[in-house]
Amino acid sequence: MSLFFLSALVLPKIAWSAILPELILLAAPLVLLAVSALSARRLPTGVYAGGMGAAGLASLGASVWLWTQVTPHGAGTAVDGAIAVDGFSVLVMILVSSVVVLAALIGEGYLRREGIGGPEYYVLAMFSAAGAMLMASADDLVLIFLGLEIMSIALYVLAGLDARRQGSGEAAMKYFLLGAFSSAIFLYGIALVYGATGSTNLPQIADFLAHNVASSDGLLLAGMALLLVGFFFKIAAVPFHMWTPDVYQGSPTPVTGFMAAVAKAGGFAALLRVFFASFGLLRDDWQPVIWLVAVVTLLVGAVLALVQRDVKRMLAYSSINHAGFILVGLEAATTRGIAASLYYLFVYGFMVVGTFAVVTVIARRGDEAHDLGSYRGLAQRQPFLAAMLALLLLAQAGVPLTTGFLAKLYIISAAVEAHSYALAVIAMVSAAIAAFFYLRVVVLMYAGAKSGVGLPAPLAATGAGEGAGSGELSPVAAYGPGAASAAELEGDRPEASRPDGAGGGEGHGEPDAAGVPATIALAIALCAGFTLLFGIWAQPVVELARQATLLFH
């Protein structure tokens, strides 16, 4: 009997090229672990960061190559229908790969500052990114679930990375318990959908729904509802957002940025694919739910962000607000809406990673200074950081000439086109509320010091302030690193005005004692450069998102 099955077993053809980005990000951590285990002495964290950066670049290259393959040949599936190779998944892969590169840069500076050695951050971040990619490209609910688990379990551990801070461990615990809860709900949802349609494969589900008019689809609706709950947990939509502020606040700041970008990318990619592609026929059933959740998410996120004193909590609520915007695109349930959501997701990834990179630097050693007060008068102490943060926050607020503005415009116009006028109005109102708390930080950075320190701005800008100077004239500058830092700061300043020339920070090899490690500065400049460059030169990324959705499998 078993021999009969062995002979009958035809293994599916594995299109290695179709899963190349995931493979790179799954293999690279194993290499790093092996290197770490085999090396006789402890390697500096830069080695692992280099490995992760190289893996991210390789997977970025593979994703771009995949894009050039998908564009002429159209979408398809690979590995026996488990993976969808389409523009949508490839664009999310490009986003996640870029975030991996940025996370390597930011993590290196952070881990060196905090004195945390070892390859674990890099290993787990890459696994997590691979999980998000799997979620984005999975064409099977089982694979989505596994991708979700790979992404989430690695993120739980990353949240608890900084063993010295109690908040870190507690964030990990909270994230873990609620994440496991939502995973179980999600799994039960898969079970009900499986029972209702007879398959876990998304095209097969869509096929079944297209050919069968269910007389009583209660089971399917219950399954869809549970799937939605699971997704809402992951993307932090409002009734299921309770974990977000605590986890964002407690996690190490680079991890928070990574989590915000990657978990949202993976969660939303799977959500959009499952509900638009598979359950598209049932949109009359799920659209009202999405409408309601989008409204509540938009408003609660914006209003609660207003009252936060802690910048990380504020950004957590702001990320909830952004999730609401992306949901508006799904609610439209049109190709244009999905393209808008995808564009928003893509540019949001860069904005949020850059923002949290700046917060990482400002938090200083120990990763604790997250009170709004730390930002008072930042423009005079750290002009580069202040300029970058102002740019990124204004982009998040949706100020013109940034990608954030285009994203909001795109989403709202898609909603209007789908005749969801009420939702479009609510989205605009929430954007207006949200603009207030972003602007508050910007104003605090640029005007705050006048009331606090009382120095005239030009004087303070030369660095002569007692407590707030950037150190150029302070006694610390006598030390070697301090002098180097002044040069570094000078080198970074031109970037503030010309962020698209982002390579500038690379030349300064020395660790920067003035607060901005070169790697983090590079990452910040890249994010800000992306946000500004493609905010002004809008066509390419918008076109990319539109094409990606047309190539939807």
Partner: protein
């Protein structure tokens, strides 16, 4: 081979899921909360196996196979987090996680 209708199994699984969810929400001991997650995963597994029988389809059983792996990995990570935290503070109650208010 059984004759008991799948409806009974599915009802039992739903009840198991409900008890697990209830326990997760009311208990404050993280270890017990974690066991409640396992109850919920088992309810999902039972649902999968039942549907596999009702639909005469092997896929449902294969999914359970993967869920077992996920559950094992989740347990290891979860317990490691618990150990890491509560070695420092010898309390295993979720309400003690009070540094992060909100």
């Amino acid at each position: 081979m059984t004759d008991v209708s799948g409806a009974w199994y599915l009802s039992l699984a739903a009840a198991l899921f409900g008890i697990g969810a209830f326990g997760l929400l009311v208990r404050r001991n993280v270890l017990v909360m974690f066991m409640c997650v396992e109850l919920m995963l088992n309810a999902a597994n039972l649902t999968f196996v039942t549907f596999a029988r009702m639909l005469n389809d092997i896929a449902g059983q294969a999914v359970v196979f993967f869920v077992l792996v996920v559950a094992a990995a989740e347990v290891v990570v979860g317990l490691a987090i618990i150990v890491a935290i509560f070695r420092r503070r010898r309390e295993a109650t979720a309400d003690d996680l009070h540094i992060l208010r909100g």
